[in-house]
């Protein structure tokens, strides 16, 4: 006390104010905003007589502009179609989409704001969705229909993915390459960072069906020269170049440089090749000739338009809803996620609550989006064992397996990675 009394009045005031404030902080900290609540309070939040409001938080701007712009665009397109048909039980569907600008705090803030005003979230896509997961966790009656990136999102009971993908990988395509082309030695380049964990799961799946890893290197996002990697893979007799954990730009560079070095392994495969702008990254499309890709969705860029009417609907409504929108993978997921949500909303009855929507989603044990997807048990979060294989031929995407339509299934064809 004597020490305090020696302080100047200003110092004492400052210290006193600080103490009071800390105490106040403690009191206010125990206020209404604390602790997880189990429900929103109003069971019909986001649902009125006229409309159902749905939220979406995606990374649209930020360091990589337009990264997941397709995510809200696809939902908007499907909602436009449903609204044109009269809505669901007489209610129009309205999407409020927020951009997290690839920022953790922004994702949490946007999720928090929307959670109090929407009936559900549909097709949110962000590298930082884990930051909003804590906000979602406060609500037990708030459905989230999305392919979450972070495990905190996907493991949430109220998360329903139209195409569940637990840790691991489908193996059907790998078996096809092995049996058809006799390939065994994998060469791979993968992105350091977030892509690495899924790459490891895929390599484990490849090894589970008899492949050997001949060469692999994790690369930084800034790398642009892979000639030394190509020389090394050539020397290691790599016959299967697997490039699933890189972005389309890196894929294009590797393909161009492999072509320049006249190195052509028996099989090159990459799921990221199926993109409307991929060929624009290659000044010479022949660099990608013969490249395989496998997918659990129909060829939504238009190749399956004749056999899967939903593909035509998707492309037409994307154009109608927003002529500038690009029908990419994330837009396709937006479309099928919105389909899944509407199916649940219809099943939830004439006067649904948020909990009714969650319950209805929990009843959907088979969903294939009218042929847009290969089909999966949404409620049980079971992955699909069915897939299609496509290939680049003469600068176009062509179906290889099944040749005409649909998907081919490989019972037990999903390798579950337990992390061991």
């Amino acid at each position: 006390m004597r020490a305090i009394s020696r302080l100047s009045p200003a110092r004492r005031t400052g210290i006193g104010l600080t103490c009071v404030v800390v105490l106040l902080a403690g009191c206010s900290g125990r206020g209404a905003d604390d602790g997880p609540s189990t429900a929103s309070g109003d069971p019909t939040t986001g649902i009125t007589d006229d409309e159902v409001v749905v939220g979406n938080v995606s990374a649209v701007s930020g360091p990589i502009p337009g990264l997941f712009q397709g995510a809200p665009d696809g939902v908007e397109a499907y909602f436009a179609k449903v609204n044109a048909d009269g809505g669901v039980h007489g209610r129009q569907l309205r999407l409020i989409s927020k951009d997290d600008a690839l920022n953790c705090n922004q994702n949490a803030t946007a999720t928090r704001e929307l959670a109090g005003q929407v009936a559900a979230f549909v097709n949110s896509y962000s590298v930082f969705d884990g930051c909003g997961a804590e906000e979602l966790a406060k609500y037990s009656d708030l459905a989230d229909v999305s392919n979450g990136v972070d495990a905190r999102v996907t493991q949430r009971e109220q998360n329903f993915s139209p195409s569940p993908a637990p840790a691991g990988s489908r193996t059907g395509g790998f078996i096809y390459y092995r049996d058809t082309f006799g390939v065994k030695t994998i060469g791979s380049i993968y992105g350091n960072g977030a892509a690495e964990s899924s790459w490891r799961e895929q390599i484990a799946a490849l090894e589970s069906v008899g492949y050997e890893l001949g060469y692999a290197r994790g690369i930084a996002a800034s790398e642009t020269d892979f000639t030394a990697d190509i020389i090394r893979m050539r020397d290691a007799n790599v016959d299967f170049l697997y490039l699933n954990a890189v972005n389309a730009s890196v894929l294009a560079l590797v393909l161009k440089q492999a072509k320049q070095q006249d190195w052509r392994p028996k099989v090159i495969a990459s799921g990221v090749a199926y993109d409307g702008e991929f060929f624009d990254l290659l000044d010479d499309p022949s660099a990608a000739e013969g490249l395989f890709f496998d997918s659990s969705s129909a060829m939504f860029l238009g190749e399956d338009r004749d056999t899967v009417p939903q593909v035509g609907e998707f492309l037409d409504w994307m154009e109608k809803a927003n002529p500038d929108a690009v029908p990419d993978l994330f837009a396709m997921y937006g479309w099928v996620s919105a389909m899944l949500f509407v199916q649940a909303l219809e099943a939830a009855g004439e006067d649904p609550t948020r909990q009714d929507i969650v319950d209805a989603l929990g009843e959907i044990d088979s969903f294939d989006a009218d042929g847009m997807l290969s089909g999966a048990d949404v409620a049980a979060k079971e992955p699909s064992e069915c897939y299609l294989l496509g290939q680049v031929q003469d600068g176009k995407y062509v179906r290889v397996l099944p040749e005409d339509e649909g998907f081919t299934c490989e019972p037990g064809g999903y390798y579950f990675d337990d992390g061991s």
């Binding site: 100047s8 200003a10 110092r11 005031t13 210290i15 006193g16 104010l17 600080t18 404030v21 902080a25 403690g26 206010s28 900290g29 905003d33 604390d34 649209v60 701007s61 930020g62 360091p63 502009p65 951009d99 997290d100 600008a101 690839l102 920022n103 953790c104 705090n105 922004q106 949490a108 803030t109 946007a110 928090r112 704001e113 930082f128 930051c131 972070d150 495990a151 350091n192 690495e196 964990s197 890893l213 290197r217 690369i219 930084a220 800034s222 642009t224 020269d225 000639t227 030394a228 020389i231 090394r232 020397d235 730009s249 006249d262 702008e277 624009d280 990254l281 290659l282 000044d283 992390g419």
Partner: protein, 641 residues
């Protein structure tokens, strides 16, 4: 042997690319004494302009090439020199760095506004379809052109700088501007010539490199970073040595990829090789005398103990009021701003007072968040201690090799550290979790629940005040005076018997520890941290905004933190402003050329009025004008280079 030969060819081609990007940097530095962080951005803009003319508008390639390389690029360079650089003569390093980084952001924003970044574009190689096989490697004629141009540039510029009258005069202007002017040279003219030439070389590099990578704004802008290492081998002056440095770097990378074992951490070493090379070049090669001179700026007034405590108390009281009226979303963003403010306070000590420019403060913050995540489960206070301890210890380790470096060399060594940590630590799932994100719990204080946003905001305000008051106390202490002396003139400080080594070590450790504390509390605010939070670019942006707002004052730092936190918010709320935000930040940073203390770095209007009134009263009492107060006198400050 075949593999070795192949890898050698690959390394030489890559090395020539580095040498070419470094050549323009060297020319600009040699002719103006300014390290141009926007060099890559000028190359990027030129490559896009060339694409626009030759591919988009269908102009003949030779005409587009001549127009971009010999007209547009030199004009950009000369304009930049005239408008921005000339005012920086003799400025402190943090100011010149901020201006060129601001220019970089401005050019990135302009490019994004003109050419939609989401659209894929390619630029065909020159002599497309023609190639030769050398040592088992197919080399295109375009790549051979890059090699030849790199050699020609290194040799030609060496001749120009040392064997021609304009070249010698240009170097003379940089060595001593006044003396050169007395000898009849026109300094502005030669400086402008140098920047025009540098921009022209940036354009050549950008146009030649774009077909080898993708025509992407960020890729082309940042490609030049690897060239820093090559430029440093030539000590930013010697072009042939720069060329040799580039080739050596290319060869080391090629051999590393070619021979290091697969499947372990060594196979991922390539991205950090240029940074290790840069640090080794900085430490091993003899320390050339970097350019720079004494600058005259008015350091801001330092608040006294009583004033800082009262203002701190008022600030916390305002924070309490705000916590009662603002929404949780706004409070979350303000809290983030306070967290950034804590990290920025660490820059006040290191850069604002000590004159040591660091480009890795968010790396220390990341280490703090990491320690809090690992050891502060459920908010255990030991986590906070670990955060400060780990960041402080690493700060001291970084300072050890940096003790013999100063100015730009020191800044580049911190850049290398930040880049290496980004690649090897933050993007490594052995350090971070598999999803490359770490949950960070909020501090637990018995009896005080900080889980709520309102409580955490007030808590952060209190911590910020304590840290700010402490920083101001340090400034008034003996250590603070030593720091300012070191920042003003290291040579004079050493002459007076001051231990620069000890002072640097202490300030690096304190600063890193404070950044670690900020990182741990920032992590608690977000709940989750990931590599994107602690990138080199984020650290540079943090420094840029801090300098722009005022790196020498607590007020400046507070506004800088809030501005940084609200940036994404504004961007997300007003999508139409997406491209305008970096342009605005760039322009703000460029404003440093006119106001080196930053927007909030000078005296506040209240302080100015109070001093003016006191002076007037004294003058009236004494019947004569008093000399200007001490803080308005011109105080020489070393350029820090």
């Amino acid at each position: 042997m075949d593999t070795f030969l192949s890898l050698t060819v690959v390394g030489i081609v890559a090395g020539c690319i580095y040498a070419l990007t470094a050549a323009g940097l060297v020319v600009t530095y040699t002719t103006s004494g300014i390290f141009n962080f926007a060099h890559g951005a000028i190359g990027m803009i030129s490559a896009f302009a060339f694409w626009d003319l030759s591919q988009n508008r269908g102009w003949p390639v030779p005409i587009a090439l001549v127009l971009v390389v010999f007209v547009l690029a030199p004009l950009i360079g000369m304009f930049v020199e005239r408008v921005l650089i000339r005012g920086l003569q003799g400025a402190a390093l943090d100011a010149s760095l901020t201006v060129t980084v601001g220019l970089l952001l401005l050019l990135i924003g302009l490019a994004a506004a003109i050419w939609d970044p989401a659209t894929a574009r390619t630029l065909p190689q020159f002599f497309s379809g023609n190639s030769v096989s050398i040592g088992g490697v197919v080399v295109t004629w375009h790549q051979l052109t890059v090699v030849l141009v790199a050699v020609a540039v290194a040799a030609g510029l060496r001749l120009f700088m040392f064997n021609t009258r304009p070249g010698i005069a240009t170097r003379a202007v940089v060595d001593d501007r006044d003396l050169a002017a007395l000898a009849g040279a026109t300094p502005g003219h030669f400086s402008q010539l140098g920047w025009g030439l540098g921009a022209m070389l940036a354009a050549v590099a950008g146009i030649l490199l774009a077909p080898l990578v993708n025509l992407d704004i960020n890729t082309l802008t940042l490609l030049v970073i690897n060239g820093y290492a090559a430029a440093m081998v030539g000590r930013l002056r010697n072009l042939p040595l720069t060329f040799a440095g580039g080739v050596a770097l290319g060869l080391i990378e090629a051999y590393a990829v070619g021979y290091l074992p697969v499947g372990n951490a060594l196979s991922q070493i390539k991205p950090i090789i240029p940074m290790v090379f840069l640090v080794v070049a900085l430490l091993v090669l003899p320390q050339g005398q970097l350019r720079g001179r004494m600058a005259s700026i008015r350091p801001p007034r330092v608040a006294g103990a009583r004033e800082s405590l009262v203002m701190g108390g008022v600030f916390v009281a305002v924070a309490v009021l705000l916590s009662l009226v603002l929404s949780e979303g706004l409070l979350a963003t303000f809290s983030l701003g306070l967290g950034f403010g804590l990290v920025m306070l660490s820059l006040v000590l290191l850069t604002g007072y000590g004159g040591q420019v660091s480009l890795c403060q968010l790396t220390f913050a990341g280490l703090g968040a990491y320690a809090m995540s690992k050891y502060g489960t459920d908010g255990a206070p030991i986590g906070l201690l670990a955060a400060v301890g780990l960041a402080g210890a690493v700060g001291a380790l970084v300072a050890l090799p940096a003790l013999r470096l100063r100015g730009l060399y020191l800044a580049l060594s911190t850049l290398a550290f930040a880049y290496a940590m980004e690649s090897a630590f933050f993007n490594n799932d052995d350090a971070f979790s598999l999803s490359l994100s770490l949950p960070v719990d909020r501090l637990y204080i018995p009896g005080i629940d900080l889980r709520g946003q309102r409580a955490y905001f007030v808590f952060l305000a209190v911590v910020f005040v304590i840290a700010a008051v402490s920083v101001l106390w340090v400034r008034r202490s003996g250590l603070g005076r030593r720091l300012v002396a070191m920042g003003d003139s290291p040579a004079a400080s050493a002459t007076m018997g001051m231990s620069l080594t000890r002072t640097k070590l202490v300030v690096f450790t304190l600063s890193a520890g404070l950044a670690g504390l900020g990182g741990a509390l920032l992590g608690g605010q977000q709940g989750l941290v990931g590599p994107a939070d602690f990138t080199l670019l984020a650290s540079i942006t943090l420094l840029l905004i801090t300098v722009t707002m005022g790196i020498r004052t607590v007020t400046g730092v507070l506004f800088a933190g809030i501005a940084l936190a609200f940036g994404p918010d504004i961007q997300a709320s007003f999508p139409a402003l997406h491209d305008i935000v970096p342009i605005g930040v760039g322009l703000g940073a460029i404003g440093i050329a006119r106001n080196p203390n930053g927007l909030f770095g000078g005296n506040t209007p209240l302080q100015w009025l109070r001093e003016r009134r006191a002076r007037d009263a004294d003058a009236a009492r004494n019947g004569a004008a008093l000399p200007a107060p001490r803080d308005s006198q011109e105080v020489p400050v070393a350029a820090g280079q």
